[in-house]
Amino acid sequence: MLTLNKYIFENYQMKARMTLQDIIFHLNSFWGSKGSVIAQPYDVEKGAGTFNPATFLRSLGPEPWNAAYVEPSRRPTDGRYGDNPNRLQLFYQYQVLIKPAPPDIQDLYLESIGAMGIDYREHDVRFVHDDWESPTLGATGLGWEVWLDGMEITQFTYFQQVGGIELDPVSVELTYGLERIAMFIQNRDNVFDIMWNDTLTYGDIRKREEFEFSTYNFKVASIEKHVDFFNQYEEEASLLLKRELVLPAYDMVMKCSHIFNILEARGALSVTERTAYIQRVRNMARSVAEGYIAAREKLGFPLIKSAGAH
């Protein structure tokens, strides 16, 4: 039942350390070989890979889905101007979403660890209870954080609800923290010391970006304009939903969510305001989720057919 991906594993045992891009290549090739669509990051700012339509929307409804992709994830409040060895306002998640959740998903996951050159038998791999909730997306799930020798490297979640809608079938979501895994593999204590490829470090490529965006998020972003942006995008979402243009409407939801994160980083929100903004995003997310299922139904849930023909 459990076999390591021998080819990849043996190939990379020789190499002293796998670079960040190697890790991504091998996750892509591993999940690709397991039938995943290797999707791409979505070109709107977002807080996590879950926001990518390849997860948020595709987890809804009866159609099967299996995708893997890297997602740049923005958390403005976590910015530290590039000074903190462990915190970033933008980091990379590797996201896998499979619907319905396959019965051997834990084994597949462990195999994927092997694909990154880590023989899980020599390490202490643990599935530690951690349920997940996204108030803005109206989403909840049950699962674990996966520990590798005490370090959390993956969030492993069986979705139960998305956009306030009970899911049937249930999807499973794997979210790998790429920087942490790279730090583990390369034995680095500072995220900026990770080797991105054989010559450049993570810091060479991203450090300045952390500084500029931290400065922008914490000090420069105009509160007034962002409040206005939020209202505009919210209005646009509602217009688009009326026109049954669910996908563009969802872009607006992602934008609103990110704008809300910026307002929070600016310290512009009181507790009550914060709750109200979350509620507004959630309402939009729910309408989009309902609209998406309706639209797919109109199309006759086409992916069910293609999966059947497979």
Binding site: F127, D189, V271
Partner: protein, 693 residues
């Protein structure tokens, strides 16, 4: 063979560690109950649990159900037979419905009436045919704090079930739930086995798993973990502090094959407060912090529990994770100390306490006002009062520190360190820490008056504030935990024996709130109800509480001491009898409005003796009531017994002569009156009644 061993193992994806023990006892109780209900006999039971499995092993389970007598009541005899003795339609219907004939019935009497009874021996069925049903209803009935769906049948469980081992002797019992079919197979430890393991018979289960590095017996696993920790710490003269005691269970339920690994961190981090170090280790990582056995001081050693044996590659990981966390901790600590602690108060301004009650800064202002009133009511020196107000001023400051932001449970503790660092007196620093005590039912209480007064004021502010915006608790809804706040206030008062009028404190604090919804009587009755139920939880009986709690809000502490004294004396059966006699006195006189008393009118010896004795002790009772020595009062009351007994044996209170009657009522009233300040006799219920009522 009439008996076989039975084994059932549910294989699951890692069960949340905090669910395991409760789920296991439910599993055992439900399955065992199912066997009993179906009259399937069995011998001893053994249970196994790891994060990935829950298993029960029954020895000597009967292969068939026990034969049993089925009994069924039919119609009553008068309805079962016609006047000519032939069976009625009712009886024939009953026979037909049960599939039996006239020869199978008997007549028996129940409830003084004769009935037709069916009584027949039923042959037991094969246990194997019954077991699937028992397992099915067991798995559907185990409750978890949270459940999930994972496949299309929509079955709910804590985590996905992935295999079921169901063996009766060497036979696999067929069973299916949530698309999982039973088999005679299990799985070993992930790091040590690739394939499934066949279990030939139940007795091979534990050993087969042990060979694949799974210690399925939870107790053995915990013992192994404790022994290993014992060995590692023994060598170095270290020990596990009490605060980490819960980790033994946590780690037992997080592993199938626990291995204790001694690790260390750079001793430069020891400059951090001990609580910060232990929080980082315990809460996030489930690591055991270690202290020096001799001094109790925290050390730079810790123990991580690994799920595999060889730790050549894991130690580095455990240490690195902690180092990153301690780095964060040190950064927070240093940053927080850059500003004088007193400056933090201003920063509470943007922190909302409640949208309708303003900021934490405003809350602190009200806490100070209440402290000032309360300190005035308690006999504390001017110096102490000043310090209490400083404690109040600083008590919430650490909420805006980086450290408490990261570790909310360090609130108060960081305040202690930061206040000390900024040069405030120890009493103030300790008061900041203690004002949160008790944080939970078994928590310690403030030892100093500073923490006690600020703690009472903080909680009273929450209660009055929430009442003032119309959100008082209703039914089971108490989102602001106001009931628990009263409980904490009462415990603090009792532990430090604080004598003051809660009523006055409430009254005088009212002006701090907009009074739209605030009603003094409502708040007072909320307190009274709570105190009543707190005392009930302390195992005082209802009548003891009712009898002692008049004017409780005038002095909660004394009310408690009165109940307590009454409760203690009541354990003596003679005293209980006496209370009954006093209650009898009360019943005789309670409705009598016309009475008078004069010593000269005492005519019988027994009433004269009762009065003489009363006159003797009257002053002493008054004195003891005054100095609140309730036990002595009850001790004196006890000594009344022989006089009271004799009085009731020989004297008729309701004498025909109205003058004698009025006089006797007067005598009894005078006596009861003296004790009325500490006990309301009318509320006493004799012990037999109070137990059933």
């Amino acid at each position: 063979m009439s008996h076989r061993d039975l084994l059932v193992e549910i294989g699951i994806e890692e069960n949340p560690h905090s669910f395991i023990q409760d789920a296991m006892s439910a599993f055992r109780a439900l399955f065992t109950g199912g066997l009993e209900e179906n009259k399937i006999s069995f011998g001893s039971i053994q249970e196994f649990s790891t994060p990935r499995r829950m298993a029960l092993y029954y020895r000597d389970v009967a292969v068939t159900q026990s034969d049993y007598i089925e009994e069924k009541r039919g119609p009553s005899v008068d309805k079962a037979y016609l006047p000519d003795g032939k069976p009625s339609k009712a009886l024939l219907g009953f026979l037909k419905g049960s599939g039996v004939g006239l020869e199978d019935i008997q007549i028996r009497t129940t409830n003084n009436r004769e009935y037709v009874f069916l009584s027949r021996k039923i042959k037991g069925r094969n246990s194997a045919s019954i077991l699937p049903g028992v397992l099915d209803s067991t798995l559907r009935s185990i409750s978890f704090p949270k459940t999930m769906r994972w496949e299309e049948s929509g079955f709910l469980f804590s985590r996905p079930i992935r295999w079921i081992l169901f063996l009766f002797g060497t036979e696999t019992i067929e069973f299916q739930i949530a698309h999982v079919k039973s088999a005679n197979r299990t799985y070993g430890h992930r790091s040590y086995t690739d394939t499934d393991l066949t279990i030939k018979e139940p007795s091979a289960y534990e050993r087969t798993l042990r060979d694949r590095n799974v210690i399925a017996d939870r107790n053995k696993r915990k013992l192994r973990l404790m022994q290993q920790i014992g060995e590692l710490t023994e060598k170095k003269g270290l020990s596990v502090p009490d605060i980490a005691a819960g980790l033994f269970d946590v780690n037992t339920d997080l592993t199938e094959y626990p291995n204790a690994v001694l690790c260390e961190f750079d001793s430069e981090y020891l400059c951090l407060p001990q609580e910060v170090l232990t929080s980082e280790m315990i809460e996030h990582q489930h690591y055991f912090p270690l202290t020096e056995r001799a001094t109790g001081k925290i050390t730079h050693f810790f123990i991580a529990i690994s799920n595999i044996e060889n730790h050549s590659k894991t130690v580095n990981g455990y240490q690195r994770v902690l180092r990153a966390r301690l780095d964060d901790g040190r950064f927070f600590f240093m940053e927080d100390k850059k500003n004088p602690f007193s400056e933090y108060t201003q920063r509470l301004n943007p922190v909302t306490f409640h949208e309708k009650l303003g900021s934490m800064y405003q809350k602190v202002g009200r806490i100070k006002s209440i402290c000032s009133i309360l300190a005035g009511m308690l006999s504390v020196s001017e110096e102490t009062k000043k310090e209490i107000l400083i404690t109040a001023e600083l008590c919430k400051n650490d909420l805006v520190s980086l450290m408490v932001n990261e570790f909310p449970n360090l609130q108060g503790i960081m305040g202690y360190y930061y206040a000390k660092e900024s040069g405030f007196p120890e009493t103030v620093s300790v008061g900041i820490r203690e004002h949160y005590f008790p944080r939970f039912a078994a928590d310690s209480l403030p030892k100093g008056i500073h923490g006690a007064v600020v703690g009472i004021a903080d909680r009273l502010d929450t209660i009055l504030g929430i009442f003032s915006i119309g959100l008082k608790p209703k039914g089971s809804k108490d989102p602001f935990a106001l009931r628990r706040n009263v409980f904490a206030i009462v415990r603090i008062i009792l532990s430090l024996r604080l004598n003051f009028s809660m009523k006055r404190l409430i009254d005088e604090s009212m002006s701090l709130y907009s009074s739209k919804h605030l009603n003094t009587e409502e708040v007072e009755s909320f307190f009274q109800d709570r105190i009543r139920s707190i005392f009930t939880e302390m195992n005082f009986s209802y009548d003891e509480i009712d009898a002692s709690l008049s004017n409780v809000l005038d002095d909660v502490c004394e009310a408690y001491r009165r109940v307590d004294a009454l409760h203690e004396f009541r354990k003596n059966p003679d005293f209980e009898d006496l209370l009954v006699s006093f209650k009898r006195m009360w019943n005789i006189i309670k409705d009598e409005t016309v009475f008078s008393f004069s010593e000269e009118l005492l005519s019988e010896d027994e009433e004269r003796e009762l009065f003489r004795y009363f006159a003797e002790i009257r002053e002493s009772v008054k004195q003891n009531v005054k100095v609140k020595n309730y036990r002595e009062v009850y001790s004196i009351l006890s000594s009344f017994k022989p006089y009271v007994d004799k009085f009731f044996d020989h004297v008729l209170v309701m004498d025909e002569d109205p003058a004698l009657r009025k006089n006797r009522i007067g005598l009894l009233r005078t006596i009861i009156e003296v004790f009325s300040e500490i006990i309301d006799i009318s509320k006493i219920v004799s012990s037999r009644q109070s137990k059933t009522g």
